[in-house]
């Protein structure tokens, strides 16, 4: 343990290592709890899978810091046993049956919900049920929303129904005796205090209290039945919010962690090892081998790295591990080779190598037992530092839209946000959370790398 003590003196190393540990724990947790196939499926599933999620909701913890309490999503379903949902069925004649559904919920938030939708399922043979849907507010005002005939699988997008919206605006006009200067949204009429405040969009006050949705269904067959599900979409969701397709961003952020770490670390380690080996062989054998290796390195220096990588990954729609392979191949003859070569050139002249040669050690024995172990520790800092770069490379490729088409990654979330105008629309959470994760991963690598550099390369330390 004595040897660890000097390392513990460096605070930045400890901070970096702590951050990295958190990420590693999160990665392990993610891999165990959400299988990769499941995450990929969820991420690529259409809106059907995410139907009960609000669109572009901010993370739930925003409510802790904001004086305005944003609504959570409320789901009421006649198929689930809830005290807030009552479904009564009564016969009314020989074939006719009436089903009354009452859904109650308390709304204690400071802004109206983002959307309200009703989903129906019904069973019947030939005549579909007829429903009358009405809305009762805490102040006793009742709105008749719609009379409709539903099919076996039907929905009523309450907040998106233009007819209903026009009707509600007329009602408000009658009640207040003034024409609203703008088209009041359905959610504001259903959840707003009805007085002058509703006439300007900024001053709409939200009416708190118990709300009820009544559905009266007329069924024309004794065996017919229907179920309803009311979704009052909130404006907050989960720990990371949702995106434009109602997906839980949290899933991509969780799965992004192991992908980012694995991509960064494996690229950094394998590139450093390959470059080191090429440098070692080049310096050890000299002559034709050296010239050959050096010319190849120079060719790769002329080839622009990112453009070639982009070309290859657009040509084949490759997944992230093939991208990793291409990155490694393209970087194998990178500028690092020259540095390692210079290092080995110096080392091969050292007395202990001469001694090894004197007792008849073979080329590979000297390379593997004597030269490479000498260089390995000095490589560690640069490996750690370049891991940070490769984490960002993955994100950069995703932002260009040429990353892995399936895997959910941090870069993909940033790309979605960027191209859906999150910065224009003020949906900052969408960019900030993945960016913060990227930045903290990268900074933790940098903190560790810079400190290790001081420890392993003490020449810099004295200065």
């Amino acid at each position: 343990m004595m040897s660890l003590r000097p390392i513990l003196r460096y605070r930045s190393l400890l901070i970096g290592a702590a951050i990295l540990c958190v990420f590693i724990i999160v990665s392990i947790f993610t891999i165990i709890t959400i299988p990769y196939e499941e995450a990929a499926r969820l991420w690529r599933a259409g809106e059907q899978t995410w139907l009960e999620n609000p669109r572009n909701a901010v993370p739930s913890w925003v409510n802790l810091f904001s004086p305005i309490k944003l609504p959570e999503t409320i789901v009421l379903d006649t198929e689930s046993n809830s005290l807030n949902v009552i479904k009564i069925s009564a016969p009314a004649g020989e074939n006719i049956k009436i089903i009354r559904v009452e859904m109650r919920f308390d709304y204690e938030y400071d802004t109206p919900p983002s959307e309200i939708n009703l989903f129906f399922k019904s069973t019947y043979n030939s005549s579909p049920p007829q429903l009358t849907i009405s809305w009762i507010r805490p102040d006793g005002v009742q709105f008749d929303l719609k009379k409709m005939t539903i099919s076996r699988d039907d929905k009523f997008y309450i907040s998106a129904d233009t007819e209903l919206n026009a009707a509600l605006n007329r009602i408000i006009e009658d009640k207040l005796g003034a024409k609203p200067p703008y088209s009041i949204s359905t959610t504001s009429v259903l959840f707003g205090v009805i007085n002058e405040s509703i006439l300007t969009s900024e001053s709409v006050e939200t009416l708190k209290g118990g709300y009820r949705l009544l559905i009266e269904g007329l069924l024309f067959e004794p065996t017919a039945d229907f179920d309803a599900k009311l979704v009052v979409y909130g404006k907050v969701y989960g720990w990371a919010g949702t995106d434009h397709l109602r997906r839980d961003i949290g899933i991509a952020l969780l799965w992004g962690t192991p992908i980012a770490l694995l991509f960064g670390v494996s690229a950094a380690v394998s590139i450093a090892l390959i470059q080191m080996s090429i440098g070692a062989v080049s310096a050890w054998f000299r002559g034709a081998v050296d010239t050959f290796m050096q010319r190849i390195t120079e060719i790769f220096l002329v080839l622009p790295f990112l453009p070639v990588l982009i070309m290859i990954s657009t040509l084949y729609e490759i997944n992230i591990w093939t991208i990793l392979l291409v990155v490694i191949l393209l970087s194998s003859f990178g500028p690092g080779v020259k540095n390692y070569r210079a290092l080995f050139m110096q080392l091969r002249e050292s007395p202990y190598v001469e001694a090894a040669r004197a007792y008849g050690a073979g080329d590979f024995r000297i390379l593997i037992l004597h030269l490479i172990p000498r260089v390995l520790p000095t490589m560690i800092p640069s490996i750690v530092l370049s891991a940070a770069e490769f984490v960002f490379l993955e994100a950069a490729l995703a932002i260009l839209g040429i990353g892995d088409p399936i895997a959910p990654t941090w870069g993909k979330v940033i790309q979605d946000a960027f191209y859906n105008g999150a910065l224009f629309k003020g949906q900052y959470y969408w960019v900030l959370i993945p960016s913060a994760l990227l930045a903290s991963t990268s900074i933790s690598f940098a903190l560790i790398g810079f400190t290790l550099d001081k420890i392993f390369n003490p020449k810099l330390k004295e200065i």
Partner: protein
């Protein structure tokens, strides 16, 4: 007649550099074509384009199906010939290589310039000034700021300022475009004082001064993002570099001889650091001409980087090859000129002692 060793050295270097360029360009041509894989895509698209054009053309309404097929087939063959597909890939690749190396960049497959031209040379010439304007400015700023801050820090080594810069160097582990996202968020989205991206206002101001001001305004955020990202590491590296050079024995000896500090600094510290500094400057300048693909995409800057991106998405081989060739030539020329400069600056090279 005896050739001086330095000329021989330079000649040898010129030949190796040329061979390197030729091979790199050929590899690019090969990759850009993926050994013929792209050809199939391009051919398929050509067929689609031709048949759509024929079927949509009212002049051909009266023809019957066979005639139309024959017509499409003939036009398709013409189109293939125009695109140069009547020869096998190996021949075409050699042709491409010859054209590329003689800077006969030809016509693009899909991309056209803002003025509507299909000439690769015009397309690149249109984008290059934009990239040079932005990234050469950035690189020069970074270089000189880093150089002078580094000098200052190496003199005030151990001071609070020095430690602050050392503390902030991990910021440079995040790339410039990443800071760009945040700067857009702060200055464009929240404060609304600077544009989100692009190069000029839309519509562009007609007045020249207004136009220049508008471009300058659009340059602020990209420049700031790169400075935030790379200033600290650049200053810190320079500082360490100067410190290493100023702790050399000959500097100590010079000091011991009582030579004034300013002369020591100029002659004994700065002079030997000149070749690597010049190398750095020239290579970063060359690199700046390829633009920065991601930064240009994030800031929607119409430069060479975004051209490269668009060209690779559309598999526009001539444009891709053209860009790489120009870059390779620039790099090769720079490397060669640098050999000259070393020969002038470094007496060891001049005497041929350092023959590699």
């Amino acid at each position: 007649m005896k050739i001086p060793p330095v000329t021989l050295l330079l000649l040898k270097r010129a030949v190796t550099i040329m061979i390197t360029v030729v091979l790199a360009v050929y590899i690019t041509i090969y990759v850009a074509n993926m050994g013929g894989y792209v050809d199939e895509i391009v051919k398929g698209e050509a067929l689609l384009r031709v048949s759509q054009a024929v079927r949509a053309n009212p002049a051909y309404r009266s023809l019957n199906e066979t005639q139309i097929r024959n017509l499409i087939d003939r036009l398709y063959q013409n189109e293939l010939e125009r695109l140069g597909f009547d020869q096998p890939f190996i021949v075409r690749s050699i042709n491409y290589l010859r054209d590329a190396l003689t800077l006969d960049l030809g016509r693009s497959l899909f991309i056209s310039s803002d003025s509507g031209s299909r000439s690769v040379r015009i397309i690149i010439a249109e984008r290059l000034p934009n990239t040079v304007l932005l990234f050469t400015t950035v690189q020069l700023l970074l270089f000189f700021l880093g150089l002078f801050t580094g000098l200052l820090l190496s003199r005030k080594y151990g001071s609070k300022l020095d430690r602050l810069v050392a503390l902030l160097t991990p910021m440079s582990s995040l790339p410039g475009w990443f800071y760009g996202l945040f700067l857009i968020l702060i200055f464009a989205s929240i404060l609304r004082i600077l544009p989100y991206g692009g190069m000029v206002d839309i519509p562009p101001p007609t007045d020249r001064l207004q136009y220049a001001l508008s471009v300058a305004r659009h340059m602020i955020l990209p420049i700031m993002s790169w400075l935030t990202a790379y200033f600290f590491i650049s200053a810190y590296t320079r500082r360490t570099f100067f410190l290493i050079f100023s702790s050399e024995d000959y500097v100590e000896v010079a000091r011991a001889r009582g030579i004034p500090e300013s002369v020591v600094r100029r002659r004994y510290i700065l002079r030997p650091t000149l070749p690597p500094i010049i190398t750095d400057l020239s290579l970063t300048l060359i690199a700046s001409w390829t633009g920065a693909i991601i930064t240009e995409t994030v800031f929607n800057w119409p430069g060479v980087g975004s051209l490269f991106y668009v060209a690779s998405v559309f598999f526009d081989t001539p444009v891709l090859v053209g860009l790489v060739v120009i870059y390779a030539y620039l790099l090769a020329t720079t490397v060669f000129v640098l050999e000259f400069v070393y020969a002038i600056l470094d007496p060891r090279v001049r005497a041929g002692v350092l023959a590699r």
